[in-house]
Each structure stands twice: as C-alpha cells, then as structure tokens.
Amino acid sequence: MKLKKAKQPKLPTAARLLLYPSVITLFIIGIFPLLFAVWVSTRQYQLSKAYEPKTFLGLDNYVTVLTSPEFWEALRITFTFLIIALPLQLIMGTLIAVYIYNLKSPSLSSLLRVILVLPIAVTPTITGLLGRLIFNSEFGIINYVLSFVGIEPVQWLADQRAAFIAIIILDTWQWTPFAALVLIASLMVIPAQVLEAGKLDAGTGFNLFRYMQLPFLLPGFTALLILRTADILKMYDTVYAFSKGGPGVATELVSLYINRIGFGKTFDIGLGSAQAILLLFICIGLSRAYIKIFYREIQV
C-alpha cells in the first residue's frame, strides 16, 4: 500500500508485478490474521462456550494478562533460557570452530563438518522425544554416565531445576553445531596473507585469536545472536515434546503458556490473543533494537 505513494524513484510496472505477489500474500496471511487477533482480544471469546455471545470487554483481557503472575513467570523462564543457552552455544560454537579451523588434517575436518550439519536437520519435536529417551530416570544414558562419577540418578522430568537444565542441554545439542558452522565460514573469509602477517605481529595462540580472528567473527556472532534470539523466543516444539512445560511450570516457555491458555482446557482464545499480541510487541521491539544496533551499517 505504502509503495504506491512512492513518487521517486518510481518502480517500473513490470518490477511491481514481480514484487507484489509475495507482498500481498504476506499481507493477507500475516497482517490480516493479526488484525483479527486484535479484534478477538477485546472480546469474551472462549471456544468451549461457542454459543455464548462474544461480549465486548475493551482492554480487560490485556489487564488480566499484565496482572497475571503466570504470564510474567513464562516470560521470566523464556528470558532465563535465552540468557543461559545463547552465550553457552556461542562460546562452545567458537571453541569448536577454532578447533576445526586449525585442524591440519583435511579429512578429519571435512568429516566433522558433515557431522555438524546433522543436528540442524533433526526435527525439533524429535529432539524433545530423544531427550525423553536419553534423560529417562530409569534407563537413560545420562543417568548411566553420571553413575560412573558417583552421582545419584537424577529425576530429570520430575525435578524443576533438572528439567530446565535438560531443555538447555537439548537446545545446545541441536544448535551449537550451527553456531560452529557459521563461525567456521567466518574464519574462512580471512585471507591467508593477513593471517601470516598477523602471526608475526600478534604471535600465535590466544593473541592471534583475539586480535586477528575475533574481528572476522563479529558478523557471524551478530547473525547468530539475531537468529537464535528469534528462535528461542518462538521455541515450542522441543520443550513441548520433552516436558510439556512441566514439572509445574518449570519449563513453560511463553509459547507453551499461550498455547495452554488458547488451546488448553478453557480454549480462552480472547485471552490467548491478548497474550499473543503482547508477545508480538516484545518480538518487534527486540528485533528493531537488534537490527538498529547491529545492522546499522548495512544498506538495504
């Protein structure tokens, strides 16, 4: 819509024909449902009571959400997850990337790079189911390994802290390899001459990494930070399959919480929509901030 106002420079008609189909599609499937969600969020709208009138409530649903400790708890859990999992994955990803980059054997490094691709393809739902198998308190491999170091069997799905640690481990298993692959690609960009010159100036080991390689890794870090933050805020599949948010609400990330309100027992779609819209504002705010901070220099 806004494009039509553009007077100069003007987009040729043929170019519009190429551009508009996807813009219109995204508008219909992206914006229109959101407007509908705004409408629903101002109503008393419960699917379990389909034939009752959908009374207009104004902002009541929003007040309910913002004053509900459960909503804040879900946000707190989501951001705790983000603050622990993301740095963990970036640090481990960097270590793996530097290790593989410095490997002198081409066959070992290419084998490892193929292996690193595998977790990215694993269906996140199935990562969660695999978690159930591996963290099983009776026959799971994790407790078996822990028993060698003399640790008592952990009730991974019954203990709140253990369950939270388990979902962080699952996410880290799946996405650290992705971080490593992106960072290896960033290291590959460094021209050999620059690196040789750097070795003379900065020496080898940590100094070389700090002054020569780290600057080249920054775009990779930025991209990973943006992509992984978005993914963690959306995260649903793995955790749903692993713990359904339990025990209690220990692993109930915000997507799982909204899903439980909107499609759970009460089918309170009005309230769920209000939560979804508040989450949308958080997502937009965060992505704006990220892109402002990191993508300033990039000309689109």
Partner: protein, 264 residues
C-alpha cells in the same frame, strides 16, 4: 603397518588430543541419533499392547505433498520479490524489507490463534491448503532473505546490457538472472523443505487426521505413563532419517548458503 601409520600421522600432523576432541564432538552429536534408530528397530518385547501400530505409509506421502508444495510456492513468490529488492531503489524500500524479514521474528503462536479461527470458519482445518498457506508465513521471508544476496552478487551491468538489447524486465529476470542463481536456490529450497517438514505447532493445531504431519504422529505415541518407545522411535527415524541423509549429502553447499545469508 606401524611405519605406515606413523608416517601418515606425521604428514598430516594430527595430534592425539585433536583426535580425542574430534571423537568427543562426533560421539555427542551422533549418539542420540544412533540410539533413536536402534530403539526403533528393537523388537517390541516390553510393549504388552496388541500389535504395534505401524504408521501407514500414506501419512508420510501426504506430508511430503505439503512440504514440497509449500517450498515450491515460497520459491515462486519469494524469488521474484528478492530480485526486485536487490535491483531497484524505491521509497520505503528498507521499511518493506524490514517488514518481510521481521516475519522471522514473529512467534508462530501469534499467527496460529487467529488462523485457527479463520480456518474453522472457512472449513479449512485438516486440509493441505491451510498448511501450505500458513507455512508461507515463515517460508517467503526465508526465501527473500537468502535470495537477495544471491541476486546482488550478479553484476548490474548484465541487466543493463540486456535492457539495451531490448529485453523486458520480466524477460531479463527469467532468462538471465534466474538461471544464474538457480544453483544456489537449491539451498533455499532444502532449508525451507526442512523447516516445513519439521514444523510442529501449526500442524498440531490445524490438522486432525487427513493432513497430519510426521512430528504430530510421533508425538501421538506419548500419552501419560505409557510411552511406546519402539513405535515412537521408529516413526521418529522415518521422519528424521530422509532429511538427515539429504542434508548431509548437500552439506557443503548448504553450509555455504547458510553462512552466506548469515554473515553477508
């Protein structure tokens, strides 16, 4: 034998700790996948329920249709848009770009609530159509995001030369630029196919039986205390194995594409 080993080791200069670390990384990644396959193959001695319910192959066929159609539709819609965004300057272009890309940030739960109500009213729940359409919400932004860079890598002079020769914009796009990016489009295609194939939340809410997808079927074996590990892991293997093999085979191109999109 000993001499051979030693000399080859000397040539490639692989240190012992490097092999240990590499082995550790490989084991950590591969073991869970290996265990899933083994558990799926294990005879069902521990399940007392009648015959283990094998998933009908038709389920996966339908599910392939949904993922393939979504990928094709996203490419058909997204690639031309990426071409225009890469080639032309116009007012509010960065706003438009930002809006398209920001769809990647939107949580699916935000989209699925209103979509569910609309789908119920239009009687589209549990059809392929609703799945193919809703998958465009993340597929189109993904195609645009990955393809813009690919078009930008083509020198503008090529387009200008074509224009001088009298080729129309659409013809230039179809005959000149599209063939040049075609190889790298396979990366976008694989990545979108994998995201549609793996998606859970939309499928869980918008399908019942006819259009049900693999992840939803796999979850179905988990009810209360009675988890049927064998069939669950067999289904999981059927869902995961094809795409793992697929991505491993294409891994070199895939990583290049992903990294290119990510690090610009």
């Amino acid at each position: 034998m000993k001499i051979n080993l030693r000399s080859s080791r000397k040539r490639s200069k692989v240190k012992v700790w490097e092999i240990v670390v590499g082995g550790g990384i490989a084991t950590t990644i591969v073991f869970p996948i290996y265990w899933m396959i083994i558990t799926g193959l294990r005879p069902q001695t521990e399940t007392f329920s009648s015959t283990p319910k094998l998933i009908p192959t038709i389920t996966l066929d339908h599910y392939k249709v949904v993922a393939t159609s979504s990928t094709l539709l996203a490419l058909i819609l997204g690639v031309p848009a990426a071409y225009v965004l890469a080639r032309w300057e116009f007012k509010r272009k960065s706003d438009l770009w930002f809006w398209i890309i920001s769809n990647r940030f939107i949580s699916p739960i935000v989209v699925v609530l209103p979509f569910f109500l609309i789908a119920i009213n239009l009687q589209l729940v549990d059809t392929y159509w609703v799945m193919i359409i809703i998958y465009q919400t993340f597929s189109i932004p993904f195609v645009v995001w990955l393809s813009i860079d690919q078009f930008r890598a083509i020198p503008k002079e090529i387009d200008e030369a074509a224009a001088v020769d009298g080729a129309s914009i659409i013809k230039t796009f179809l005959k000149i630029d599209l063939p040049l990016v075609f190889p790298s489009l396979s990366v976008s295609a694989v990545l979108i196919f994998v995201s549609c194939w793996n998606e859970l939340l939309f499928a869980q809410i918008l399908t019942r039986s006819d259009a049900i997808t693999g992840p939803v079927v796999a979850l179905g074996y988990m009810s209360g205390y009675d988890i049927r590990w064998g069939p669950m892991m067999a289904t999981s293997t059927l869902v995961v194995l094809p795409i793992i093999l697929f991505t491993a085979a294409l891994s070199r191109n895939l990583v290049r594409g992903l990294a290119m999109g990510a690090i610009k």
